[in-house]
Symmetry: C2
């Protein structure tokens, strides 16, 4: 076991124990919101035929020489193509084929004239404008060619991606299976929301926050619950879920108090303890162990400390086990808008509120200067963390800081 | 019926026909990702009692006068409080109560000393540091008071909001019911992905893109499908779903071609036609009608035009019918990174890619200078629209433009 690890080391150690997810093939609508498990190449040219971009007539540009409203060129209309149709006629000099937007352009034609620049007359069409070759002519493969890389493994499939897959005729895609997790909150002080707390008790919120964050990251949460500060109870709770899940998150009991029992419990269960405590505020009392090959991440019982450590410690791990390459944290540089006078012997994550000014410049304001790790409500007004380096003597308004979302 | 309406007018006309959603009460985990239907005030003080922020001893600051490692003050430990417990003893001069982080501070005490600044000795404790009154003392109601506004109606409930609700003991909240929609794509040229298209046919993608976007906006999509260019078929398809849904989106058939049948169909069904065509590129051939009091929004069959019109036209409507006050589009000012030489007689939405430079300045690049409305794949590289005003003669690199997401 390593004590007091750097955040980067802790991140790497947790990451190493994560297993990449398996894949399953699902239909497009079901694939929405899932993570692509294979690179996708175009199975066809797009468009798949030479295509008219407008309603009009396919013809030969040479035939339009000199055409104008006062001196129309008259062509014979040899066919009309409606949506979904396809003309087998060949356009030769003096002839034209009437087309709808999206229709295939027949052989022999080298341009398409817009309907508004023509007059239809009894099986013929008057052309009143000159065209050049390939004008209004959308080529087969103009958007993408068969074999082109379209989407990469690890991309989250949102509406635009699903639409593109459909347009290429792809009805089902391989997506990563969702990893399963359990969340266990420990603490004799915890009661479920909706009940009346005895004096000294507090409502359990970590289970809810963490279960919801896991879902937002694409993890299936199979169970959540409260367990009291009793080694036997915690052991039974962990043992009960460990075979059904890919990893477990616990909160509480990872500090140094007399009732901080997680390390003892995990030892009793035969888990390998990897590290205890991270050199960052808040959230330092985190424990990481591995039981039956499954990561067990034990976070602080303090709501903000638990939430901050979740984001800072677990993102690379969650990206690995969900296959989603872009869970963040997205890092940005921003100009600090207020002073922070505290010294930071440990690296520190401050809650910040990010905005842009009129010129698009990134600004960030510290929203909780007292930084109480129990105050979850401040999180509602913040949208990022400000990264304060170890040894900082304080920060002044106007300094450039790193923020992450 | 109004022809050729301004985008803002079109938006307002559709918005007017949207009905605000009903509400239902659901448990917290189910409420995740839903929209809050009522303002929430704190039902209790947070914390709900005077609380120790650390492991240590509650005592009277006056007793610590002169305390130092070489001259400790010795106090009698009259009680020990574990997590979830509560001492009924009163701290008086010369006494202390041992506390865990989060424990209630007993009556009589006015500060808490950190365990590290003490030495425990057989029922007593040696204090080796001076404290002032209210040091390490977290007051009842310090984070929020009973009755404080916590969350507003219309907020999307994400992990942070769910956690705060749990911490206040709220087990279930009123959320808006999801509106139901059907998506119908019309066009003889359309075939479902996964099948082999005949010459001239193309894969249906609008149904997929729009159904997924609706889901992302919090709408329940009850049916999607393709219908050919036949008035009777379209009438039957619309009539079949209209009673089950709150609104219908159709694509294709809203233009001026011979097979553009949506207006005729909606007229046959007895719908009130509100407007036809919007003064914006792409996407101008949109039709809006109301059937049995339900909005029917008919978009272009061109994939990008349909997607752009969806975003630009429907956002206020979707915000109204889902109750979600922040579906966007979020507007930002950004510096254009390339020239755009086309004239824009109509207002135009260009696909752009938004980035920030090192100083946090907002930049946007035009990603599809040919702006083909059929090319959906360009959407994969873009993350915003650039708003080009009607009458623009073109834009130069370095100009400030409005973008929306």
């Amino acid at each position: 076991m390593i004590r007091n690890v750097e955040l980067e080391t802790a991140r790497r150690l947790v990451l190493e124990k994560g297993r990449p997810p398996g894949a399953e093939k699902v239909g497009l609508l079901e694939a929405h919101g899932r993570v692509l498990a294979e690179n996708i190449c175009a199975p066809m040219d797009q468009p798949s035929f030479n295509r008219s971009p407008l309603d009009g007539y396919a013809l030969q540009a040479a035939d339009t020489r000199g055409a104008a409203p006062g001196s129309p060129v008259i062509l014979e209309v040899i066919d009309t193509v409606y949506a979904g149709g396809c003309s087998t006629k060949e356009v030769t000099g003096g002839t034209a084929v009437c087309l709808m937007t999206g229709s295939p352009i027949p052989e022999g034609a080298d341009c398409v004239i817009r309907q508004e620049n023509t007059r239809a007359v009894q099986g013929r069409v008057e052309i009143i404008k000159e065209l050049s070759r390939w004008e209004n002519y959308c080529f087969k493969g103009e958007y993408s060619h068969k074999g082109d890389a379209i989407l990469d493994r690890g991309e989250l499939l949102r509406a635009a991606e699903i639409g593109v897959l459909a347009s290429l005729g792809i009805a089902a895609v391989p997506v990563y299976q969702k990893p399963a997790a359990a969340v266990i909150s420990t603490g004799d002080e915890l009661v479920e929301p909706g009940t009346e707390p005895a004096p000294g008790r507090v409502y359990s919120s970590n289970c809810y926050t963490i279960a919801c964050r896991l879902k937002e990251c694409g993890v299936k949460v199979v169970s959540t619950g409260i367990v009291g500060d009793d080694c036997g109870d915690i052991e039974r709770a962990v043992a009960k879920v460990i075979d059904e899940v890919d990893f477990v998150i616990t909160t509480g009991g990872a500090s140094v108090g007399e009732k901080d029992l997680i390390m003892e419990t995990m030892g009793n269960l035969g888990a390998e303890i990897i590290f205890w405590k991270i050199k960052i505020k808040p959230g330092s009392p985190a424990l990481f162990s591995v039981l039956k090959g499954k990561p067990v991440i034990s976070l602080s019982g303090n709501p903000f400390a638990a939430a901050a450590t979740f984001e800072l410690l677990l993102t690379p791990f969650l990206e690995k086990i969900t296959g989603n390459g872009s869970l963040g944290p997205n890092t940005l540089r921003a100009v600090l808008q207020n002073d922070f006078n505290k010294k930071s012997p440990l690296r520190r994550a401050l809650r910040g509120h990010f905005v842009q000014d009129d010129s698009g410049k990134a600004l960030v304001e510290i929203v909780d200067r007292d930084q109480s790790p129990g105050n979850l409500q401040v999180a509602l007004n913040s949208n990022c963390f400000i990264d304060i380096q170890k040894g900082s003597a304080g920060l002044k308004r106007g300094e450039m800081v790193y923020i992450y979302f």
